[in-house]
Amino acid sequence: MGMEIAHIMASCMGGIRTSGDLVAWMQMTRRMRIHEAKAYVAEKLGVGIIDLTDEEIMRDIRKDLGIGTVTSIAGSPKGIRAKIKVAELLDINIRSVALFKSQMGF
């Protein structure tokens, strides 16, 4: 376990602490290399590349956009509710979201 945490501390974007999940979606769904994926997400968020891993900036952005914050705010979106917003924000297809929406009659 310590090995994974060491990698996360040394070189990881930070997942839902910052924007790591968003950049990962772009690699997965559009085959974007790291610099292209970061640029795409930064443009969608209206921030600079350097801001993507800044917790102080990304926390407010995530809260305002309803795409999930790492600390639990009662009643705020997480999980599939947040992923619906992520798919809309990034203009991508997230398969779990597509299934959920079809079940909800969207």
Partner: protein, 355 residues
């Protein structure tokens, strides 16, 4: 010669090297990788940068702000509840709890679910159990959520599987029979990979990870490539990460090809090309760690292979950085001084898109 810099051996042992010894191991390591794979060695400037990373007096090192990459995972959440043979800490957590802890407490970029055997074949008879767990967990995760396992062709040979055992046939000189057995096994494996991937796709699978492909040789790698291609035909929007198992594909069969490319002996810069051709979205590179060589030697080799693979690829390339690969020492509890040096070097010099 003064011994003044602390580093590690490939088995994790702490050793003291002089600056000259570290530079020499970096030079020899990159030269060996270059000669083996027919790729450029690290430049003098890159070797010096690697030296600076390794010789940094800090206990932990990291990339600079803005240089971070995606850290995908291959069953990392299993480390919470698994045993020591998989690097697990044995905490009594359910799989969903482990995944959410990894996502929220650790800030991982992606998470994943996997069967504890971590091979696809055992998943087949319990696919509905796995599909239920995957679906339920995917409703509460926010970060990308993979299902991962290893193709593991070895499970298809007798006595564990239906096919004659190729490893027993070869020493008897029955090469044609061994090849036929591997081709038959690869067919079974491809069908199982497609079956499991398709069933999970039915419940909203966000990403599939074929981890450690080619562990049983070139026929194993071929089965994974064929599965990726068939899954992409069947479920075009399914993201697939296909990772390799070693720095070259072992020619247990020796003659199998994919898209006209013989697979035996392919090094990372060619592995990523066939993975891309098959239709995968992310390619994984694995470089073997030699336990009797130093971290400078192992990491220099790994960075050399990684850089060539990254330059050859049109899709994201992630370096496999688990125990015993890409310069990480081969032990259950790799020291974090070595882990962070590997991490930083593969990103800054190896140009990895992720780990």
């Amino acid at each position: 010669m003064s011994n003044e810099i602390t580093t590690r051996m490939g088995d994790g042992e702490r050793v003291l090297f002089s600056a000259e010894e570290i530079r020499e191991d970096i030079r020899v390591g990159t030269a060996q990788a270059a000669e083996r794979a027919g790729i450029p060695a690290l430049s003098a400037e890159e070797q010096e940068k690697l030296f600076d990373i390794i010789a940094d007096p800090s206990r932990i090192v990291s990339v600079q702000p803005g240089e971070e990459v995606i850290v995908s995972d291959d069953g990392c959440s299993m480390s919470f509840y698994g045993g020591q043979d998989g690097g697990g800490v044995g905490a009594p957590l359910s799989r969903m709890q482990a995944v959410l802890t990894y996502e929220r407490a650790c800030g991982a970029d992606t998470t994943s679910l996997g069967h504890s055997d971590y091979s696809f074949k055992p998943v087949k008879p319990i696919i509905n159990f796995e599909a239920n767990d995957y679906y339920n967990t995917s409703m509460v995760t926010t970060a990308p959520f993979f299902y991962g396992a290893q193709p593991n062709l070895g499970l298809y040979f007798q006595p564990d599987g239906p096919c004659p055992n190729a490893a027993e046939l070869m020493p008897m000189g029955k090469i044609d029979a061994a090849r036929q057995a591997q081709e038959e096994a690869a067919g079974h494996l491809t069908r199982d990979l497609v079956f499991v991937g398709s069933r999970l796709a039915d419940v909203g699978l966000e990403g599939l990870n074929l981890d450690t492909s080619g562990s049983a040789g070139d026929a194993d790698f071929l089965a994974a490539l064929n599965a990726v291609a068939r899954l992409k035909e069947k479920v075009p929007d399914l993201p697939i990460l296909m990772g390799a198992s070693g720095e070259f594909i072992i020619g247990m069969h020796g003659e199998v090809e994919y898209d006209g490319q013989r697979l035996a002996g392919l090094y990372p810069q060619d592995q990523v090309k066939v993975i891309e051709t098959a239709g995968a979205d992310i390619a994984g590179v694995a470089i073997n760690t030699t336990t009797t060589e130093s971290l400078p030697w192992n990491l220099s080799r790994s960075v050399t292979f990684m850089k060539a693979a990254s330059e050859a690829s049109n899709i994201p390339v992630h370096a496999n950085v688990g125990m015993g690969v890409c310069g990480i020492p081969m032990m259950e509890q790799p020291p974090i001084d070595s882990v962070t040096r590997v991490s930083k070097a593969l990103v800054q010099i190896g140009k990895a898109d992720g780990l």
